[in-house]
Assembly symmetry: C2
Homo-oligomer: 386 residues x 2
């Protein structure tokens, strides 16, 4: 179950011929209300795709009635023609669903710099609109239609005791980096919340989940996380409880994205402890997560902790470079900047890897999720557009 788990939402996913493989590539989600509140978070990349430019206008009034997503093309760096494609797509959704085009979010993912085939998109949207349903199968079909190099659909659900539900779907496999990762995420809820409340909860949840996933350091032009609220449960939640549940759903989707990252053979959690601030902890974790040598070493099951410290040394975080402890999978290999336990005690053969760095400088911590640098990552990304 994903976006159709909450009451008030219909979904569909269909093949429209945008992907050369013939797989599903158009997803449509409709919020049937009674509320049509929404919040979004977009990529902080300054080069933004046409659907992001469009959706930023749509969200301004906090009202979203539907969201249409396509894989098979990012519609980024496609100029005025590309923007018209996005606009026409929203108009077509609006006409079919008898809503305003100004209430239709558009998301695209795929290759940058190629025009989308508008005829195929509109035909696919027409097809999808005829298949809209509130079933689990319809939710799964939507989740499958946004996949690019993903190997599995990503879905998550939280059902509260109080009667409201949150469900979500995500895609993302490459170009995964913060602010946000290369990903499209749609989360729905039937809780009764205003758009401002949804926005507050969404920003809190993404800042500690999707924003701390940094698979390959590459920030996308198309990232969008949308949270749609139908209010159909009739239940107004405690906002703190709702935010915690939304964070849980977001973290579940983020971990699923990490687990399916292009070519990865290890899922790495980098825990940075005793930093003077959360920002310092995040900066240190991200510097390690972006170090190609460290990531290649993990691929080789090599506990090369020197590469961790070399990465930490490039940050501006407060710490004494010669009083840092480092653990690999529970083995303290470096204590106070000198070799501690023998590195051959570390077993890096499991997919899950835990790196712990103790800065001994303060009381804050953060965890960054990343992946290793593998032959398959290089292979997949050297052949993507050809």
């Amino acid at each position: 179950m994903s976006v159709t788990a909450a009451a008030g939402f219909l979904a569909a996913g269909v093949p429209a011929g945008l992907k050369s493989t013939g797989r599903s590539d158009i997803a449509l989600i409709r919020n049937t209300g009674p509320l049509q509140n929404a919040a979004t978070v977009f990529t902080t990349n300054r080069c933004q795709a046409n659907p992001v430019l469009w959706s930023k206008e749509v969200i301004k009034d906090g009202t979203v009635a539907a969201i249409v997503l396509n894989s098979g093309g990012a519609n980024c760096y496609t100029g005025a023609q590309g923007f018209q494609t996005t606009h026409a797509t929203a108009e077509h959704v609006a006409e079919l669903l008898e809503i305003s085009a100004g209430d239709v979010l558009v998301c695209s993912t795929g290759l940058i710099g190629e025009q989308l085939d508008l005829g195929k998109v509109t035909a696919g949207v027409t097809d999808a609109s005829g298949r809209l349903a509130g079933t689990a199968a319809a939710g799964l079909a939507a989740a499958e239609a946004i996949m690019t190099t993903d190997t599995v659909a990503k879905q998550a659900v939280h059902a509260s005791q109080a009667g409201w539900t949150i469900g979500g779907m995500a895609k993302g496999a490459g170009m995964l980096a913060p602010g946000l990762a290369t990903m499209l995420v749609v989360i729905t809820t039937d809780a009764v919340l205003t758009s401002a409340e949804l926005d507050q909860a969404l920003r809190a949840a993404t800042s500690v989940t999707f924003d701390r996933l940094d698979s390959d350091g590459c920030m996308s032009t198309n990232d969008t996380v949308a949270l749609l609220g139908s209010g159909a449960s009739g239940v107004t939640p405690d906002l703190g409880e709702f935010t915690a549940a939304l964070t849980e759903v977001s973290q579940s989707l983020a971990v699923q994205l990490q687990g399916d990252a292009e070519g990865a053979s290890h899922d790495i959690a980098i825990h940075v402890e005793q930093a003077v601030s959360e920002a310092d902890a995040v900066e240190v974790g991200r510097a390690i997560a972006r170090n190609s040598l460290f990531k290649a070493a993990i691929f080789g099951n090599d506990p090369n902790w020197g590469r961790v410290l070399a990465a930490v040394g490039t940050t501006s975080a407060a710490f004494d470079p010669y009083d840092v402890d480092v653990w690999f999978n529970g083995i303290r290999v470096c204590a106070a900047g000198t070799p501690d336990q023998p590195r051959d005690l570390v077993d890096l053969t499991p997919r899950a890897v835990d790196i712990r760095v103790d800065l001994k400088a303060g009381g804050h911590a953060a965890t960054i999720l990343t992946n290793d640098l593998t032959h398959d990552y290089v292979h997949e990304n050297s052949a993507y557009s050809s």
Copy 2:
């Protein structure tokens, strides 16, 4: 010819058993004067190896009589014992050459977090001191002794009309990133210059050469560039002319480092034009050079210009994201943010790749050198310490 090309310098390189391969791993260079002026530039990584900590003290008075370099171990994160190894090495050189230990620079390169075998180091230094010579063969032996995963020794020479000479050697293959790259560089000259003049020339030269080489975004803990001046030519050069020649020698060595970078199959020059400042141009070039997806695409001979723009969009440089031009090997694939020439016109099969990005924002430019992300890079760096 390299460090022995200038008059007043003797060099040697010998195997001391630090490398498991039995290849040369100790280099020694002596400045026989009459001057013993010097300048250095060190890594800006906050985690610095013991030889860097030592050498920073040595250079304070601007006098250097000898430099000893070892491969086979970085002597970084080796604590008090590691610092004592560096200190004892300098003392041993001083005793053999009848100079002050405070005038002996020490450089190390290799794995972080392992102790160097001091007995092997001192025996190697004794051996090297007996082989010191001013010949080209001795210079080459020194250049070979500092190689790690380098496949060729790097040397460069400039002989001026006025009678002074500059010669240099370098090593560096992985962990190549600015500030500086993972490299050890020794440059010698017989020009008559003070240590302050050498320092001024060296900072000017490195800032536009080694500092603009960013092979894999990973900054080392051991980087050192040393410039030693013997004054043995008796000629005082024009400082501008000397700096230009030093820049030429540095650039030659930087390009040799790029050409031998671990696993690389393409040497990429990223030219950023019409930036509002040189700093902006460098920031944009570096962001592209550090983008794993771009680098993997080049490995696959794929002119994926969308990844260039996605990288540019992560910078704070001044530009209009929708008015940028991009060329791949002379083919303009993106004009004013929209597709221009077909990407299949681009031939990326040659090793040399030219990327040109026109920001259309100002009058400054910079070129960053990098390499592609290949299977061999992953392979070499997943197996390095094991």
